[in-house]
Structure formats: C-alpha cells, structure tokens
Amino acid sequence: MHVPDGFLDAPTSIATGAVAVVAVGVALRGARRELDDKTAPLAGLVAAFVFATQMLNFPVGAGTSGHLMGGALAAVLVGPWTGVLCVSVVLIVQSLLFADGGITALGTNILLMAVTTVLVGWLVSRVLIKVLPKRVGLVAPAAAIGAFLSVPAAASVFTALYAVGGTADISLTTLATAMLGWHTVIGLGEGAITFLAVGAILSVRPDLVYAARGVIAERDLVIKPKESVA
C-alpha cells in the first residue's frame, strides 16, 4: 500500500507528515518503557523481518498482489510503541533507498502502515487476549485477527485521506469499495503470516512475545500451587 508522490495534494501530505512526526515522537517516549537490553536487539530483528517480508508480494487474484504491512506483528512481538518505530524505520529505508513509497508521501505511509496497523492490530489482539482464556496457544490466533483487521482499516484511512486531498477527480464510492474489497483479501495474508511468525516465536520463547507476557505470568500463578501440593 505504499503511496507514491502525487496521489495526495500538498496540504494533505503536509498534514499527514505532521501527524507522523508527532506519532513517532510519542512512540519514541513510549518505547522506552517497552525496551530493555534484550528487547532492543529483538526490535531491530523484527523490523528487519518486516522489511524482508514486505518484499514478498503474494498473488490475490485478478492480477493483483498484496504484501505484509507488519504493524500488528511488530506490536504483538515487541510492543505497540516500538512497533510504530519498527515499521516507520522500514518505510523510511524503503522510500529513501529503494524508491518505494513517495518521499513527500512518507508521512502518509507512516500514518497508514505504521500508525493505523499498529493501533488496530494491537487493540484488537489485546482485547482478544484479555477476553479469551489465558492460554499461550491463543495469542497467535488473537494476533492474526488483529492483523487481518488492520489491513482494511489502513485501506479505509487511505480512502478518507483521498476524499480530503486526492488529486484526481474520481468516484469515492468506487474507490472505497475497491480499496476495502481487495484489502480484506490481502488482510487474510497478513493474518496468516502474523499467525505463523508469532506462533514460531511463541513455540521457542513465549517470554519474548510482548503481548503474551500477561498470559505467561497468570499461567505461572496457576501452576505453582499445584506443584506444592504434589
């Protein structure tokens, strides 16, 4: 969903740029609470993984493809604030080094793929993890559902931005329908990749998964008294 230069007019691009600067600034402060000596290198690795996976466009039919955005994945693995930073770094490197995503559209792309997908992916998976039984096995499915929903959410935000500052005179209803439709399908891929990646880390080191911390702590509390009885 990398927006190129020229899709949105200058005022809208400046506005999204300002929102992105504020968001990254707030994330830098928030990430301090999530990052320590061990999770900091993990954040770098998660960002690298998101970059690599974003290169893997998967076909979604009728000559279209989609790729991971990674906001939900990063948020679940290393925390939401750090997740915003991880995806933002990916987007900045992609734009400056690989000419992928316009330079004047950097704010727009950060707003869509770093902020929106982290926000939706994190909130949905967090609510699910809270509501569902506290089992480690349910963390990956919760993350997958958050990831799935984060993609049509980003598509909706793009449509809203286009309604405000799109440079071409097109039917907004057509745009909204097409964007939501295709990105719901792409979201299935986002959910699947997120499920596999979160599941893989959970299977070896569940304690490294940020969103699973509460689940593991509560599970320990259940296990210990049983052991003291036996």
């Binding site: 230069d5 690599a52 998967f58 493809s65 490197v93 000419a99 598509a155």
Partner: protein
Amino acid sequence: MSVEKKRVPFRWVAVGIAVVALLLAGVVSYYASAHPDGLEYVAGKTGFLDSASEHGAADGPLADYDTSGVDNERLSGGLAGVIGTVVVLVVAGGLALLVRRRSTGSSDEA
C-alpha cells in the same frame, strides 16, 4: 519463570530471525508476485494511477529493489534485499538501543 524446561538461548532466536529474514529478502523475494499491489491495482482501475509523480530517489543505486551494476536479475534483487534487511536491522536496532532504559549500574550481560 523457573517452570520452563530448557530455554532456547536468546542468541539462537536472534540468529534464527536474522537468517530467515535474509533468506526471505535475498532468495525468496525473487519468486514474489510481480503484479501491482492492492493500492496500485485500485488506482489503475479507478483511474488515478497517472497522478503518481516520478520518485525523487528513482535514480538511486537500489531503486525498485535492483542493485545497479548487477546484471543478473536474481542477484541484483537478492543483493538489494539483503542490503535493505541489514540497513533496517542496524537502524531500527540502533534506535531501540538508544531509546531503551539502561539497566542501572554497570551490570554487563556477557
């Protein structure tokens, strides 16, 4: 905490993620779909793809995930992917290390 049987060392997990990322970007990316992504496709169908302007960094040595000067398509894309993965790892990891809360005192891990 002590309930775990035997923990996989963090170092192995880190190496594992790095290797998978490098393989995906360096090798598997060659087989990725070349079709336009969702936004590009919708832009084409809806009729605003033409409004995209030339990218400011379009002449860069790694533009469009191709390494300039490398003719072999597989190598050119793979190399660009590997370089990008390493750059992102260093920048994001470095940023995270700067932002992190330091362990008080000089409690070195290794």
